[in-house]
């Protein structure tokens, strides 16, 4: 049928037919392979592996090398202490705690007290400090002659200076508690420390001076002294301390009173609650809370601002004379009120200003406290929820933080209707901001309180004016309720701490900078909006990404090592098996030597000598691996050499190369395929061992690298099993399925074993 003379297409014809024939043979051996149960199982697992390898770039959500979970996800508040309030006292965590550090001289003293007034009118203090006398969490009653009527919250606790102690220890204030009650009375009392040094020993309260007002209080009385939590106030209540400060105004208590004829703003002198002045507010709407401006001693006279309806009135602190009034476009947002940050009351500020926003408006305005002119400060995308400012220590303009429903903006140059420098938007999961922002100057952090009862601490980097979330206190069991009264230096732990009341009737002191709780367990929605299907490892890297990314790398190592092994093994086997002679002899002893040296120590020595780069590792694994395969192939080569078809081709004048190519290799190939499967598994196992022992570079994402973090700390495997389970399981499966495949190939390699 084949006449010698047809054209070249015959050549192609042969090749095509030979290809077709090769396919049919492949199909037949595939059937044998598939029939063996091992082959089938191995095949499917490998198919999954290959699929994952191909998809791995897509499935890697975070880049495995340098991704680290954002701090917001990794840090949790570190609950330093947890004080539960006995119900006998009648006060409950949900009521309003006021924090007042018992301030002695300039540096902070060592005991802090929380003040709370029980419905029965007793004032309680909760000690918190390291001294033996005021053990942490001890609750004691400061003043038990009842405050008549129900308390109007919040209670103000502020440091006041009294003339009396001017000479004995100048600049030392003592803490006064100001309480307003529904019985129309205001009470004020000083906290006395038996030992004389505030903060040590058991505090108690002298008789509280009180005065009754002619009407009902709309809000709790306000003091023109800075709330204690903000450190050393500038103002002294009872005396003017000329040597120390030139313009000292007496401490005044302001309260908004409502009686049949309308709303009045009354002012009393704090010392003995002597009535000073009262002003009638012209409007009929409910006025806002009074805001005091004038902490800084440089300013002659402070002012009290109050807004009613759409106008803001400012009255002189001492005389109550109206300084100015400004009408606004809408009613003031009473939740924010008028925020007069201290920074803007300092001398450097070009002109003292206060910030306010209108009810559910997304604009922030500022009002000049000299003449009451209003201009727009900032336009936020959402409704403004809260305003705070840095204290300006770093010089003016200290920047402003404005929070709308789900953003916090750090704004710098206010005067020129600034653009927002940096913004941090709260992730949807955590709800929106509901309350004012707390600012802690010492660590440049602000605290946001969200509708899902979360506290998020955001740290400010002044250099780039960027906001980066620090940690989030997701309600661990108890939801955070009511107020949280800002920052204080916990002398016990010398760390910035946060005081929080929880719904389960406890007060928690949280450490400011939070603790790193990585490795994170698998979560679908972490605070930062990321998701970690397999959680993260101690370093905060997402296990899923590392796991997926290591598929191609492991294949790479496996295949390259196997290629190396097969190349050398076949070469060595043919030299020793077929050519024999002296070189064959010497080579055989060499491979025997390498084979006899125990694998692992050799690996370790080579790895440490050659240094831990990936290519060195591949080289080492090849060196250690090839004798195993070579020995079997030597056997095959030797048996092939004496086969008659080899003898035939020798007698018909075939060269050595021809014989190697035509006879030796094809007969070795099936076994080579078998060994390939086995040694890929071996190579991956090899590199995993090396990485586990720390000899190989762990910056390459392989399963071994993922396990290497375990070597130093086995305990972690029990606490964070999600770290080791994926790599361990995949490694075992990978090696297992390769062994299965090799078992299947074994069927193909010598089918005669099975059939008759």
């Amino acid at each position: 049928m084949f006449k010698g003379n047809n054209s070249n297409n015959d050549g192609i014809n042969i090749r095509a037919r030979r290809l077709k024939f090769l396919l049919s043979r492949l199909r037949k051996s595939w059937k044998i392979f598939y029939k063996s149960s091992y082959g089938k199982a191995g095949f499917y697992i490998i198919a999954v592996f290959i699929a994952l390898t191909i998809l791995s770039p897509v499935l890697t959500f975070h880049s495995p090398e340098n991704f680290v979970a954002p701090t917001i996800d990794r840090y949790r508040p570190d609950i330093i202490t947890n004080i539960s309030i006995p119900s006998t006292t009648g006060i409950s965590a949900s009521s309003n705690f006021v924090y007042a550090s018992s301030l002695s001289s300039s540096e902070y003293s060592f005991t802090y007290l929380l003040y709370e007034v029980s419905p029965a009118g007793n004032i309680y203090g909760i000690g918190y400090g390291a001294t033996t006398s005021t053990p942490v969490g001890k609750i004691f009653s400061l003043y038990n002659s009842s405050v008549t009527g129900k308390v109007i919250y919040p209670v103000t606790v502020a440091p006041l200076y009294c003339y009396a102690t001017l000479y004995t220890n100048p600049g030392v204030s003592s803490t006064y508690v100001l309480v307003g009650s529904t019985s129309g009375k205001i009470f004020i009392g000083e906290v006395l420390w038996k030992s004389g040094d505030p903060g040590t020993g058991l505090p108690s309260m002298k008789e509280m001076a009180n005065v009754s007002i002619n009407g009902t209080m709309v809000y709790a009385p306000v003091l023109n002294s800075e709330p204690a939590s903000f450190g050393v106030p500038k103002w002294v209540p009872f005396y003017s301390y000329s040597a120390y400060e030139s313009y000292l105004n007496p401490a005044m208590v302001y309260v908004v009173v409502k009686n049949t004829t309308g709303y009045y703003l009354n002012a009393y002198e704090a010392d003995g609650l002597v009535f000073s002045w009262s002003v009638k507010l012209p409007g009929s709407q409910v006025p806002s809370q009074p805001y005091y401006y004038g902490y800084d001693s440089e300013f002659p006279v402070g002012k009290v601002l109050i807004a009613q309806g759409n106008t803001i009135y400012a009255f002189s602190e001492i005389t109550g004379k109206e300084a100015f009034n400004t009408t606004l476009q809408g009613n003031i947002n009473s939740k924010i009120g008028i925020s007069i940050p201290i920074g803007y009351q300092s001398a450097e500020a070009p002109s003292p200003i206060g910030f306010f926003s209108l009810s559910n408006s997304s604009n922030l305005y500022y009002i000049s406290l000299n003449n009451g002119s209003v201009s727009e400060a900032f336009h936020a995308p959402g409704i403004i929820q809260g305003v705070t400012t840095s204290r300006g220590e770093s010089g003016f303009p200290s920047y402003l933080f404005v929070a709308d429903t789900n953003h916090v903006f750090a704004i710098t140059s206010i005067m020129e209707n600034s653009s927002s420098a940096g913004s941090y938007n709260i992730s949807a999961a955590a709800g929106s901001f509901t309350s004012n922002i707390e600012y802690d100057p010492s660590v440049d952090e602000i605290y946001l309180y969200t509708s899902t009862h979360e506290i998020i601490s955001v740290s400010i980097s002044k250099s780039g004016y960027s906001l980066s979330p620090n940690w989030a206190a997701i309600g661990t069991g108890s939801t955070y309720v009511t107020s949280f009264s800002g920052q204080f230096l916990d002398t016990a732990t010398q760390s910035e701490s946060l005081l929080v009341t929880t719904s389960s009737n406890t007060i928690e002191i949280l450490s400011g900078n939070g603790i790193d709780i990585a490795p994170l367990p698998p979560t679908l929605h972490a605070p930062s909006g990321n998701f970690y299907l397999f959680g993260t490892n101690a370093g905060g890297q997402s296990i899923w990404s590392q796991w997926i990314a290591s598929f191609p790398w492991d294949w790479f190592v496996g295949l390259s090592v196997t290629a190396g092994i097969m190349l050398i093994a076949v070469l060595v086997a043919t030299i020793i098996g077929y050519l024999g002679g002296f070189t064959g002899y010497a080579l055989e002893y060499l491979s025997l030597a390498i084979y006899l040296i125990p694998g692992l120590p050799l690996l370790i020595v080579l790895a440490s000598v050659l240094g831990p780069t990936l290519y060195n590792i591949v080289l080492i694994l090849t060196i250690v691996g090839w004798p195993f395969t070579a020995f079997t192939l030597i056997g095959i080569a030797r048996s092939l050499k004496v086969r008659s078809f080899v003898e035939y081709s020798r007698t018909s004048g075939a060269g050595v190369l021809h014989i190697l190519r035509k006879h030796m290799l094809p007969n070795m190939l099936p076994l080579v395929a078998y060994f390939t499967a086995v040694s890929i598994g071996g190579a991956v196992a090899g590199i995993s061992t090396l990485q586990f022992l720390g000899l190989a570079p762990t910056n390459i994402p392989t399963w071994g690298a993922m396990l290497s973090s375990l070597e130093s700390n086995f305990f972690e495997a029990t606490t964070a099993p999600w770290i080791i389970i994926p790599p361990a399981v995949t490694l075992t499966l990978f090696i297992l399925c390769l062994i299965f495949v090799s078992r299947g190939l074994d069927e193909v390699v010598n089918p005669r074993l099975r059939r008759r």
Partner: protein
């Protein structure tokens, strides 16, 4: 069960040792089920010997294994085998899942029977001895396992059995590799007779042995049967001659079916079954070597899906349409003689003669051949241990360490001539073949090869240029013995046949290579070439593989010299004739000169023009085939011719005039190498090398002329045996009786 003392004429006593009723065996294989045996029934009486004859793949071994219930797990057996009235438990019944307990009972029963009641000589058992143990140790194990004799009882029994098998008791101390083929086979027989079982099954006991050794073994078996040690025997072989000697009744098996069964006389002299007749026709025996034999066309059917009707139909000359539809009935021709054939009455020896042998063209006389293609002058080849540097250190001075493989060979092979080299295994004929092909270098002497226009290559000089060697290679080719091993399993037929072309870089263009390949395939008898080209060795039958080997040798157009090294020893009888005819055709139309190396005298006579007989490396006789065969001169040639089995019971193996077995080529006697085994030997033969003598047209190597060759009497034989340990039985079997 009484002990029956055998008498020369064996009459059958009462019930049968074993009766088999339509036994059929199917093997569950990857591709389906192979129907190895189909409804075979047979009865073996006490003291009776049954011969089962059939080609390879006819199910003989399956039948043997079934008898001793040694079939593998994937065998499904139906029908039953009754041994001494008790149904022989099979390992796996038809489709019934064995419970663990049943299997255990089964095993216990089987173990009781095996070797005590039925023992077996497996196929190729002689080379499955454990090389690490002496024969005695392996024999002792049989006793230790099956009997509770104590040690000296066992030793006595062992000596007794070994002597019965015709071995020298000293064999018990030697290791398997130290014994020759014949002696190992006798040891196996001793093993089988150890517990003097009631029935022995011998599966191909004589294959793989040389003709002379085979003849001796047959006579030993006959003696054992006569002496009653071997009670009833089932002998299974593809060699009709061997079976005709031993069996009382013969069953002919083909593709799993019983074709014919009857007494030895019925089958051999008056067979009424086409297949048996075809076998008898094609059996290469000396008497018929002259007539042209056509061989049985086609190949045995594939038992995966056996054909309907008679399985021999498509190869049978008498076949008719009915044969391929209806299973042949079992026709009784005479009491005890049945034949499964539709035309049993019409078929007989005379009618078959016309069908299977082309009586008209008796083999024409061979062409005398032209110029001498190959000439050797004193070609010798010694394998010395001391040749290598290491060898010269490690071999002791006095030690005899040189194997005189070939000594002073002077032959001339002309173009177009078929030259046969005949000799037992170990006589150096393969070494001669290798020398002629220059795959090994001769130690001394010259070898010339005429590459045309009488420029003659002196192959034996070492400084031959590669170019010249390549030219010689392109003119000489080799056909190998083992069809299974000579083809690379991973290369398709096309690549195998095209290999010499590529090896010698004669041709690059694939289409021309394909043309050459398909042409040589067709000339080797594999047509149409297209459906063989892309098949693989494991998809071909034995015969086809050997033809691929031939095609491979012919693919190089410039081939002038072919060396065939025992090409047909592994092939079935039906395929041998075809192969030999193919060789004759090739010599005719391609003017090839062929060296045909064999140990089978009959096929040498059938195909060769001139013949050389070799013994222990020495050429002992050479001449025209016809003159060597018709009047052999050298005692060795005489013995060889006598030893060739005849497919009829009248042939007496005892008459071969030779002693013991071939010696070793290392300690070669000084004088005539045939001294140890020559029944005409005199003292002179021992010391002086015999000269060449010329008589009736060809020469032979002996001190005495034909007339002077007188057979020594037994006493003389005894006297001359000095020192040289001739490993032959204690009673020297002097021929002529």
């Amino acid at each position: 069960m009484e002990e029956v003392k055998e008498v020369e004429s064996k009459e059958f006593t009462g019930n049968s040792v074993m009766s088999i009723k339509n036994l059929s065996v199917n093997f569950k294989v990857a591709e389906g089920t192979v129907n190895a045996l189909d409804r075979v029934s047979l009865d073996l009486a006490y003291g009776e010997t049954i011969g089962i004859v059939g080609e390879s793949g006819s199910g003989k071994s399956t039948f043997a294994n079934a008898m001793i219930a040694l079939l593998p797990e994937n065998a499904v057996i139906s029908g039953d085998i009754v041994f001494e009235g008790e149904r022989l438990p099979y390992l796996s019944n038809v489709g019934r899942k064995e419970k663990k307990r049943d299997v255990k009972i089964l095993d216990a029963k089987l173990r009781a029977i095996r070797w005590k009641e039925i023992s077996m000589i497996f196929q190729g058992a002689m080379n499955s001895f454990n090389p690490a143990y002496t024969i005695g140790k392996q024999l002792k194990q049989v006793f230790q396992i099956h009997t509770d004799f104590d040690l000296d009882q066992i030793n006595k029994k062992m000596k007794e059995v070994v002597i019965k098998a015709g071995l020298n008791p000293s064999v018990l101390a030697s290791y398997p590799h130290e014994l020759s083929g014949g002696m190992k086979q006798r040891a196996v027989i001793a093993l089988a007779l150890a517990l003097n079982p009631k029935m022995v099954i011998a599966d191909e006991p004589t294959t793989g042995l040389d003709v002379v050794v085979q003849a001796k073994l047959i006579s030993t078996l006959k003696k054992l049967r006569a002496s009653g040690d071997l009670k009833s025997l089932v002998i299974i072989s593809h060699d009709l001659g061997v079976v005709s000697q031993l069996a009382d009744r013969v069953a002919v098996l083909y593709a799993g079916r019983l074709m014919e069964i009857g007494s030895v006389m019925d089958i051999y002299l008056n067979s009424r079954n086409p297949y048996t007749l075809a076998l008898l026709e094609n059996y290469p025996s000396m008497r018929k070597a002259r007539e042209r034999v056509l061989g049985i066309p086609g190949t045995p059917p594939d038992l995966l899906n056996p054909p309907k009707g008679c399985r021999f139909a498509e190869r049978c000359k008498f076949a008719d349409s009915i044969c391929t539809q209806v299973d042949p009935p079992v026709v009784q021709i005479s009491p005890g003689h049945f034949s499964a054939c539709h035309f049993a009455d019409k078929v007989n020896v005379k009618t078959a003669e016309k069908k299977y042998s082309a009586t008209n063209d008796i083999l024409s006389s061979h062409s005398s051949g032209g110029l001498p293609l190959i000439k050797t002058v004193d070609l010798t080849k010694f394998f010395g241990l001391r040749s290598s540097a290491a060898g010269s250190i490690f071999v002791q001075a006095g030690k005899k360490s040189v194997a005189h493989a070939v000594e002073k060979l002077n032959i001339e092979i002309k173009e177009g001539e078929i030259y046969a080299i005949v000799g037992e295994s170990g006589s150096g004929k393969t070494t001669v073949g290798r020398l002629l092909l220059k795959s090994i270098e001769p130690t001394a002497g010259k070898l010339f090869f005429n590459i045309g226009e009488d420029n003659v290559l002196e192959l034996s000089n070492k400084t031959l240029s590669n170019e010249k060697i390549r030219e010689f290679r392109s003119m000489s080719q080799l056909i190998m013995q083992d069809p299974y091993d000579s083809l690379n399993p991973k290369m398709s037929v096309f690549d195998t046949v095209a290999e010499p072309i590529e090896a010698l870089k004669l041709e690059k263009d694939p289409s021309r290579i394909e043309a050459m390949v398909s042409q040589s395939l067709e000339s080797a008898g594999l047509s149409p070439a297209s459906n063989y080209i892309f098949r693989f060795p494991h998809e071909l039958s034995g015969g086809e593989r050997q033809r691929v080997g031939v095609a491979r040798a012919l693919s190089v157009p410039s081939v002038k010299f072919l060396l065939a090294d025992e090409p047909i020893s592994m092939m079935d009888i039906s395929l041998r004739a075809h192969f030999l005819n193919n060789i004759l055709e090739l010599r005719q139309n391609r003017k090839l000169s062929i060296v045909y190396i064999t140990h089978d005298m009959a096929s040498a006579r059938y195909v060769s023009d001139r013949m050389l007989i070799m013994y222990l490396g020495m050429p002992v006789e050479e001449g025209e085939t016809e003159s060597v065969i018709t009047n052999p001169l050298h005692p060795y040639t005489k013995a060889l011719i006598q030893a060739v089995p005849e497919p009829n019971p009248t042939w007496k193996p005892e008459r071969t005039g030779i002693i013991g077995e071939i010696g070793s080529i290392v300690n070669v006697p000084k004088g005539c190498r045939f001294y140890d085994r020559c029944i005409f030997r005199k003292d002179i033969c021992k010391d002086e090398a015999p000269p060449k003598r010329e008589e009736s047209g060809h020469w032979y190597l002996c001190h005495f002329s034909q007339s002077e060759l007188i057979v020594n009497s037994p006493e003389e034989m005894e006297r001359d045996v000095t020192g040289i340990k001739t490993p032959q039985g204690s009673s020297i079997n002097v021929s002529g009786r």
